[in-house]
């Protein structure tokens, strides 16, 4: 540690060139080293859960979709799974396989988005531009398949809204081939690129025991060698039919998080191919009554950022009595605080803060559940 005796406060946010979303990181620094950090995530609080209580379930589908623009399919999937659970009528099998396709397509675009943003944060804008150009392949497929690039309202209560046609399946197979080639290229290029290695190896260390004690989820946990994945642990939609491998890495640093996400994109590509080849026939939507039977239901979905839980309590009317959302970024905030603090031989420089923040793939729009009133 340096010989400075005074600690300085450096606030990062809510508007800062290194941030994409309003969040406040209050750093206490000793020279170049961060020793203490306080995170304020309340800038995005919109009162989503309260708003859900004022609307019917059908209207809520469109509200819940707008919890997060990047992982909106994971949110609507979780919402409809909860309602189908309360009704006791799971969606038709074809709809469940189509849901897996939509979900994995979203995971591809989200991980590519993250890879670009992470490259931007380490100052490697060339990679950012390359990755986002390839991300357009997945967005074009999403537009063709689900109806819109980002918020597509694809998943409906009781099934899905659009069917897969042979033409779209052909286009999707071609797109997947192209993406697979690009991912192999990125995997090779990134593991040899000195700029990336210098900025990410050994940065943002989080041990496997910390992952367990701080209950981190998603790629952050898997990059520390902990194989938690809701798709494998508690299959939903059609994941019990789709073979998948839980990607883990033992590196515990930002570099292994990059590698885990790249490998997950490859896994998602394989899952989409399997679903296209084994698409069962049958209806894609079943009609469910507008009033939902009284009861509680908790549904879990593996969003691109980790485990996403939706809880709904119904009193038998057509509006939820209580709606609760727990998002993966919220679970990862304690790990973020741990990674940002220097302790012993592990030092965090101010320049590494954006990289470490990006390494958890933050999505603060999902996360803000309460706000402090001053």
């Amino acid at each position: 540690m340096s010989s400075y005796e005074r600690l300085f406060d450096i606030p990062i946010g809510p508007q800062h060139p290194a941030l994409k979303e309003p969040v406040l990181l209050n750093l206490k620094v000793d020279g170049e080293h961060v020793v203490e950090v306080a995170v304020d995530i309340s800038y995005n609080h919109r009162g989503m859960e309260k708003a859900a209580e004022y609307r019917t379930y059908v209207q809520n589908l469109y509200l819940i979709e707008r919890v997060c623009g990047i992982c909106n399919i994971a949110h609507t999937l979780s919402f409809s799974t909860a309602l189908e659970g309360l009704h006791g009528k799971p969606a038709p099998e074809r709809a469940r396989v189509l849901r897996v396709i939509a979900e994995e397509l979203e995971r591809i675009q989200s991980h590519l988005l993250w890879l670009g943003v992470a490259a931007h944060d380490i100052g490697f804008d060339t990679l950012f531009m390359y990755v986002w150009l390839d991300r357009e392949i997945s967005l074009d497929l999403m537009e063709e398949f689900a109806g819109n690039r980002i918020t597509s309202s694809y998943i409906s209560i009781g099934g899905v809204k659009r069917d897969m046609t042979p033409e779209i399946a052909d286009k999707m197979r071609k797109g997947m081939d192209k993406l697979e080639g690009r991912m192999a290229y990125y995997r090779r290029a990134i593991s040899e690129e000195r700029t990336v290695l210098k900025r990410t190896q050994g940065v943002g260390l989080l041990s496997a025991s910390d992952v367990v004690s701080l209950s981190a989820v998603g790629p952050l946990a898997r990059a520390s060698g902990v194989d938690v994945d809701v798709r494998a642990d508690d299959p939903y939609a059609a994941h019990e039919l789709v073979p998948m491998k839980v990607v883990t890495s033992g590196g515990c640093d930002t570099f292994s998080r990059i590698m885990v996400r790249i490998d997950e994109v490859v896994e998602s590509i394989d899952a989409i191919r399997f679903c296209l080849d084994h698409l069962p026939s049958g209806p894609i939507l079943q009609r469910l009554p507008r009033r939902v039977p009284a009861g509680d239901f908790l549904s879990r979905v593996e969003a691109p950022r980790g485990e996403l839980a939706h809880f709904v309590r119904s009193d038998g009317s057509d509006k939820p009595y209580r709606y609760k959302i727990k998002t993966p970024t919220f679970s990862n905030i304690p790990s973020l605080v741990k990674m940002l603090k220097s302790s012993g031989r592990y030092v965090v420089n101010i320049a590494d803060v954006p990289v470490i923040l990006a390494s958890i793939d933050p999505c603060f729009s999902c996360t803000a559940r309460l706000e402090r009133i001053r």
Binding site: Q15, E21, P22, A51, Y62, R66, G69, N72
Partner: protein, 155 residues
Amino acid sequence: MGLRDWALRKSPWILHFNTGSCNGCDIELVATLTPRYDIERFGMYMRGSPRHADILLVTGPVTRQVKDRVVRIYNQMPAPKSVVAIGSCCMSGGVFSNCGKGPCYNVYAGLDQLIPVHAYIPGCPPKPEAIIDGVAKLLEGRKAKEVTTDAARTK
């Protein structure tokens, strides 16, 4: 057309501020920077500081927590400045504009209640083409205004 007006129209520097958006509009806005859409061909350049920016692009419903910040950022920008509201939430509150009575308890229904807005881009989220079109129309509007002031000046 003076040098200043020419620079403002041909090379507007933009600042992006997220006031509580769901990230849908933000990722479409970032997509406009990337090779397929590439707004740098219009001379637009994303800046990190409000003091360098000519155009403020705002996404998302304005939450109470972020209200003071967006007003402060607007005041920090040098004149002449323009504000663009991107997406339904920023224009009118969108899905958050109706929760029983009025908008959600933590959301302002529309950015124009707080600061003047010069262009609105509807959509949830608007496509990158729509964002480019909106900003290009804003610059066209600037040109029209400048033509009228030039005409008034020559009289």
